[in-house]
C-alpha cells in the first residue's frame, strides 16, 4: 500500500471511528425511545472527566474506562427515572429539557472542577510510514469502532434482550403486549445510551485537553450522523451514516481543512434530508440496497 493511500485510509478510519463513537448512544436512544438527548455531548464530557479523574487517582487506564462506562450509565438510568420519562409524549419538550440538563452539566462541571483537567498521556505511542507520522492509538480506536459494531450485532441479533429491543423499535405497543417490560426497557435503553457516551468520552479523553466543553466537539458531528442515519435500525444507521459522512469529510478536511469538512457534513445532511427524510437506515431496510441489509434481515428471524 502506498503511503498516500495509507494516509487517506488512516484519515478515513479516524473520522469513521469518531462519528460512530459520537453517535452510537444517541442513535440507540432515538430508535428505542424516539427522543433526542441534547445532553449527549455532556454525557461524553462526564465520561472523559470520570476517566481522567480516576486515572490521576492511580486507577489504570483500562479500568478508568470501565469506571466511566458504569458511572455515566448509572447516571443516565437515574436521570431517565427522574426526568426523561415525563417527556416521552412530547419530543420537542424532551429536546428542551435535555438542553437544560446539558447547560446544568457543562456549567456545573466548570464551577466544580475549574476550566480544565491535567491530560492523560496518549497510550501506545506512534509510528512513521512514508514520511507521515501516525499515532497508534487512533488506529486502536478505529479497531474499537468495528469491535463496537460487532458487539452491537451480537447483542441485537443473538441475545434475548437485544431481540426485545428490536421488537420495541419496530412496534412499541405490540412488543409490550407480548411481555416486554416497558418501563424497565426504557430505563435500560437510556442507561445504555449514556454508557456508550461515557465510553466515547473515556476513549477520547487522552486525545485532547479535558475541558467542560469537551462534549461540544462531538455534538455537531453526532447530530448530523443521527439525522442521516435515522433510528429505524441503530446499527445500520450508525454504520452507513458514519461511513457515508467520513467518505465526504475525509477528502474535504485533508484538502481544505477541518472546517471545510464540517461544512461538507452539514450540506450533505441538508441534501440527504431533502430526498431521504427518514434517514439512511430506513431506506436500507426497506429497499435492500445492498446485499448485507438482506443478510441482516435474514438473521432477524429468531
Amino acid at each position: 500500500m502506498g503511503p498516500e493511500v495509507f494516509n487517506i485510509l488512516y484519515q478515513f478510519l479516524v473520522n469513521f471511528a469518531f462519528l460512530l463513537f459520537a453517535a452510537m448512544g444517541l442513535i440507540l436512544v432515538l430508535g428505542m425511545l424516539n427522543i433526542i438527548n441534547l445532553a449527549h455531548g455532556e454525557f461524553i464530557m462526564l465520561g472523559a472527566y470520570a476517566t481522567t479523574l480516576s486515572y490521576h487517582a492511580g486507577v489504570p487506564f483500562a479500568l478508568a474506562i470501565a469506571v466511566a462506562v458504569v458511572g455515566v450509565g448509572v447516571f443516565g438510568m437515574v436521570l431517565e427515572r427522574l426526568v426523561i420519562r415525563r417527556f416521552y409524549a412530547n419530543k420537542l419538550n424532551a429536546l428542551v429539557a435535555t438542553f437544560g440538563i446539558s447547560l446544568i452539566l457543562s456549567q456545573g462541571v466548570l464551577l466544580v472542577f475549574g476550566p480544565y483537567l491535567n491530560a492523560i498521556p496518549m497510550p501506545f505511542g506512534g509510528f512513521e510510514y512514508g514520511g507521515y507520522s501516525y499515532s497508534t492509538y487512533f488506529l486502536v480506536l478505529a479497531g474499537g469502532a468495528f469491535g463496537l459494531l460487532l458487539v452491537g450485532w451480537v447483542f441485537f441479533y443473538r441475545t434475548r434482550l437485544g431481540m426485545e429491543m428490536r421488537a420495541t423499535i419496530q412496534n412499541k405497543d405490540m412488543a409490550r403486549a407480548l411481555g416486554v417490560r416497558g418501563d424497565h426497557m426504557d430505563t435500560l435503553t437510556f442507561g445504555l445510551g449514556a454508557a456508550l457516551a461515557g465510553l466515547t468520552g473515556a476513549l477520547y479523553a487522552p486525545t485532547s485537553t479535558v475541558v467542560p466543553l469537551f462534549g461540544q466537539t462531538f455534538i455537531a458531528p453526532a447530530f448530523i450522523t443521527v439525522v442521516i442515519g435515522g433510528g429505524v435500525n441503530p446499527l445500520m444507521g450508525a454504520l452507513s451514516s458514519a461511513g457515508f459522512l467520513s467518505a465526504i469529510s475525509t477528502p474535504l478536511s485533508s484538502q481544505l481543512g477541518t472546517f471545510a469538512g464540517r461544512i461538507g457534513l452539514m450540506l450533505a445532511a441538508l441534501i440527504i434530508i431533502r430526498f431521504l427524510p427518514q434517514g439512511l437506515s430506513h431506506y436500507l431496510q426497506d429497499m435492500s440496497l445492498f446485499g448485507w441489509s438482506r443478510l441482516v434481515r435474514k438473521t432477524r428471524r429468531p
Binding site: L30, I35, I36, L38, V83, R86, F87, N90, K91, L92, N93, L95, V96, A97, F99, G100, I101, S102, L103, I104, Q107, G108, L110, L111, L213, Q216, I219, A220, F223, I224, V226, V227, F259, R262, I263, M266, A269, L270, I271, I273, R274, F275, P277, Q278
Partner: protein, 371 residues
C-alpha cells in the same frame, strides 16, 4: 363563558371582554385582530397594564440614568427575536435553535456593510440588507428541511448544528485574508468599530437615549403587529399546522410553505435584533452564535409561555435582567440556575411559567365570580 353561548372553542371563551359573542358585538380590538382567539391575554385590564408599561418605559429617561437605560436597551432588543421564536415554536409548532445564528448573520452583514459604506443614512440601507441576508439564508436552509418533510426533532437538531458551525466559521476568520473591504471579521475577537444606525444626524448608539426610544417603539409596534398576524387568517392556518399537519394539508393548505414563511419571519425578526445589538454595542463576536447564546431564546420562550407574545416579551426582559445581575457574581452559577429553571419549567409548567401562573390566577377569579 359568554351569556349568549357564543363559539364553544376553548380559545374563544378564554378572553373575557370584547368577546365577539357578547351582546354588544365584537369590540374594536377584536375587529382589528389585535385581540383574538390566538391571544391568551386580552381585554381592558390587560391593555391598561400594557399601556402603563409602555408609558413607564417612555418616561423612564426623565429620572433614570443613561447607563441603566442602555442596559435596558440591551435586554429589550432581544424581544423581536424572542417574539419570532414564539411565533415559530408556540404557534407553528416548529422548534428552532437557530435564532441566534440569524441574529449573528444579520449583525455581521450589517457590520461589513456599515463599515464599508460609512455611517449616516446609509446605515438604514445596511440594516435592510442585513435583515434580507438573514431571510435569504433562512429560505435556503428552511427549504431543505420543510420541503423534505422531516420529522419534528430534526429541525431543532439541524438548526443547532447550523448555529455551532456558524460559530466555528466565524471563529476562524482571524487574519487579513478575512478582510472584506475595510471590515475585519476578527476571528474570536469579533468585529469592532461598527457604526451605529443613524438617521438625519441622530445616532442610535448605546450611550444615548435615541436608541432606547427606538427600541421601545419598535418592540411596542412589533408586539401589536405580531398579535394581528396571529389572529389573522394566516395565523389561524399556522396554528392549524401546529395542531395537525395532515388535516391542514387535507384542507388544501400547503403546510410546507406556511412553515417556511413562518421560519423566515422568525429569522428576519432575529436579524432585526442582531442589527439593533450591533448598533447598541458597535461590535459583534462569534459567541453570539455559540451554544450558550443559542440556549437563551429557547429559555426565554419556554419559561415565559410559547403561545403568548405578552408572556414571552415579559420573560425575555426579566430573564435578561436576572441572568445579567447573577452573572456579576458568577457566570457559571447563573447558567446552572437558568438551566435548572429551563428543566424544572419543562417538567412542571410545560406551557410556560408565566402562562401557568396567569391561568391559575384567572381560574381563581372565575371561581369567585360563579360560585
Amino acid at each position: 363563558m359568554s351569556a349568549s353561548g357564543g363559539p364553544s372553542t376553548k380559545a374563544v371563551t378564554r378572553s373575557v371582554v370584547g368577546d365577539p359573542g357578547s351582546p354588544a358585538g365584537p369590540g374594536l380590538l377584536w375587529r382589528l385582530g389585535i385581540d383574538g382567539p390566538q391571544s391568551f391575554f386580552a381585554g381592558p385590564v390587560f391593555w391598561a397594564i400594557a399601556a402603563a408599561v409602555v408609558v413607564g418605559f417612555l418616561v423612564y429617561p426623565v429620572f433614570g440614568s443613561v447607563f441603566l437605560a442602555s442596559n435596558l436597551t440591551n435586554f429589550l432588543l432581544n424581544v423581536p427575536l424572542a417574539l419570532g421564536l414564539a411565533l415559530l415554536w408556540g404557534y407553528c409548532g416548529v422548534l428552532s435553535f437557530g435564532q441566534m445564528a440569524f441574529f449573528a448573520i444579520s449583525g455581521y452583514v450589517y457590520g461589513i456593510l456599515a463599515i464599508n459604506m460609512g455611517g449616516d443614512d446609509l446605515t438604514l440601507a445596511a440594516a435592510a440588507m442585513a435583515i434580507a441576508a438573514s431571510a435569504l439564508v433562512a429560505v435556503a436552509f428552511g427549504y431543505f428541511m420543510f420541503y423534505g418533510r422531516v420529522s419534528g426533532w430534526i429541525i431543532p437538531v439541524l438548526t443547532l448544528v447550523f448555529t455551532l458551525v456558524l460559530e466555528t466559521f466565524l471563529g476562524q476568520t482571524a487574519g487579513y485574508e478575512w478582510k472584506i473591504g475595510e471590515a475585519l471579521l476578527g476571528g474570536y475577537n469579533g468585529m469592532t468599530g461598527i457604526p451605529s444606525l443613524a438617521v438625519a444626524g441622530v445616532e442610535f448608539n448605546g450611550f444615548t437615549f435615541p436608541l432606547y426610544y427606538l427600541v421601545v417603539a419598535l418592540v411596542a409596534a412589533l408586539f401589536v403587529a405580531m398579535r394581528m398576524l396571529a389572529n389573522s387568517h394566516f395565523g389561524h392556518v399556522v396554528v392549524a399546522v401546529r395542531e395537525d399537519l395532515e388535516r391542514t394539508e387535507l384542507l388544501g393548505y400547503d403546510i410546507r410553505r406556511y412553515q417556511l414563511v413562518v421560519f423566515v419571519i422568525a429569522a428576519m425578526l432575529a436579524g432585526l435584533s442582531g442589527v439593533l445589538y450591533v448598533s447598541w454595542g458597535n461590535y459583534i463576536t462569534p459567541s453570539s452564535a455559540g451554544l450558550l447564546a443559542a440556549t437563551m431564546p429557547v429559555l426565554w420562550v419556554a419559561v415565559g409561555g410559547k403561545t403568548s407574545f405578552s408572556a414571552v416579551a415579559v420573560s425575555t426582559l426579566l430573564l435578561g435582567l436576572i441572568s445579567d445581575s447573577l452573572a456579576v457574581y458568577s457566570g457559571e452559577f447563573a447558567f446552572v440556575l437558568l438551566g435548572a429553571l429551563l428543566l424544572f419549567g419543562m417538567m412542571f409548567a410545560p406551557e410556560g411559567i408565566i402562562i401557568t401562573l396567569a391561568a391559575w390566577v384567572r381560574g381563581v377569579i372565575r371561581k369567585g365570580q360563579h360560585p
